[in-house]
Symmetry: D2
Subunit: 202 residues, 4 copies
């Protein structure tokens, strides 16, 4: 089994993105599951194009996108992505779509087809707080998850796909007031445990 | 130089107290500073008596009490303790004082005489979020800090003393909603860095 | 123009539901818009049945369901409802569905067809904090919104429908720690301003 | 009986200060208690000088200072003020003291001599959430409360004094994310109920 896992570029004036920093700490194989890591641009459209390019190249069984959810205190796995882009801040190429559909011919929403509750329980057993989330927002995180699930639905139905949101890393909140954070090591551990738990999908 | 550092017993239905769990991970010596660790009861009066017993036995140069501040996201070092016990929940022996002075002949408050801002900067340099706090509450944490500073003021003026509040450990919030937490390892790292920074006190 | 606006029964041990308490304070007409108020049960299925019964009886142009979002500090208008029931606590008749579709033949999600950003701006101009929300959860609030939009989509396409979440009322948090709240009067004012702004829909 | 109640000037880029806006709504007499209202500068030193000037001119029995605690969701009455100025932002005249004593000959802290728990219960009975607070910070709010209690202690022992912190007003958070707020009317109602409850002090 092969898992493709992606992290984002830093955005919104942050110097790092904890999603990609954590990825760097993952091994290339977890209990027999091959792990392919990649960074994707925090850019509408280009992020989805990059996901499809990686799917074609890597032929993964599972695709997990990881992103930063600044302000959340737990690892959260997203249940659903909705067909809307509505940005409060520009992406890394200056795009700031407002109330635009992601794909005209896509459904209003797609549910992740990963065993998300099973993954959450597995992360919790690894002693990292985790929970389900019912909204990935309307920025690039929701966008890439929607795009991934759209691609799975239209062209790659054998692939399982989903999205994991991670808190700020400690180094990002040193100068912020009262914002929760997690160490990169803890985030990497959560991703490790989530991937390991996917053996059940086989 | 010798540092006496104390953690509390679990209280309020928690199974662990992150203050003492983190202590267990500290070595007996940090860059030439001898580290003596002890657990104190989460009990009014008895906690202060235990502090004095330890001071007499260990003759420390510095005393740091550590306690759990459930809900805070950062390591916080307390600036001050006030002469009041006002408990919302009973302590571990069932005491629940309301609006009682801790020592009739004590001052209204005592400021910690540790270099707290220096310690905070040192913890932050170790990549763990830390901040100053202006209130240790009115439960056993404030009580023990007040007692320690009262003892220093009245009988042991050569000792430096203070209090570090730590967030819930991850394992404590697994079944709680939206509560920040930190790994025991991160908490221990913060304590390590705080103690190491005390070389300037020499 | 006629607006049907509904509030919920109290649930989860609360003595009141701020959604219905605020409704009681609304007049029967707002600047020429007829306002019909109703309470609906906090019960899966029955709440949607009641909505359809009211639609048939009242023939409204617009249906707004209002519900309590304990913990939020602002009035929030929901963008979307998803086709899933996943309850953490039982509803008022003891139902606790887990990961069940609301309608087998429904879409994965429906977007509210009310001018929600216009309504939010109107509430803010009335000096009440308001924001958009991208998730109504997976309890009865999301359930009734999904049901309403499903009915609009399948049978009543001329109706506009949506959902407004309101904070706890002050009286609900008197004995809670650090939970935001709003007065019933402020909540009613927000609903008044939201309805008044719907003249543009005409 | 005469109560002197003060509010602050706006500070830190805010256009209003809810403490003074609420004061404007109070009547000149509450159930036989004369109420004198005044605005004080959000400036170290000058605020205390203004308090003494007002005490000399008005000869009040009770002095209540009111200030803004942005981020708190409830009305909070302060228990204690500590002998320290430690500003994160400049005051309205550009002063930014760091770790400075307020009065060299003052005690480390003074406790409010108002019946604060009685006042809190009274505000709650008026249906406004209220709680005790154990820290007024180290900015101008703590400064003025310390100064007031120092003056009472040294020169005006017949006066009762204290401090009430109020949340942001709604209009201040319209463009902020997820920050609790209260209407000016609710804040004024809380102050009204607090003053009314002081008849017991007579």
């Amino acid at each position: 089994m092969k898992v493709l896992i992606t992290g984002f570029e830093p955005f919104n004036k942050e110097k790092i993105n904890p999603s990609y920093e954590a990825l760097k700490k993952l091994p290339g194989e977890i209990e027999g599951i091959k792990v392919v890591k990649a960074q994707v641009p925090t850019v509408f459209r280009k992020s989805i194009e990059e996901i499809e390019r990686l799917i074609i190249r890597e032929k993964p069984d599972i695709v997990i996108c990881v992103g930063q959810a600044g302000g959340r205190s737990k690892i959260t796995i997203e249940r659903v992505a909705i067909n809307i882009d509505d940005a409060n801040i520009p992406d890394n190429m200056g795009n700031k779509p407002e109330d635009e559909k992601i794909f005209e011919d896509g459904e209003n929403a797609y549910f992740s087809n990963l065993p998300i509750k099973h993954m959450i329980e597995s992360i919790k057993k690894c002693n990292i707080p985790a929970d389900i989330s019912n909204s990935a927002g309307t920025y690039v995180c929701n966008h890439i998850l929607y795009g991934l699930l759209y691609l799975i639905n239209k062209k790659y139905p054998h692939i399982k796909g989903g999205f994991i949101h991670v808190p700020y890393a400690h180094e990002q909140v040193i100068e912020k007031k009262n914002v929760p954070s997690m160490s990169i090591d803890d985030i990497a551990k959560a991703l490790y445990c989530a991937i390991k738990s996917l053996k059940v999908v086989l």
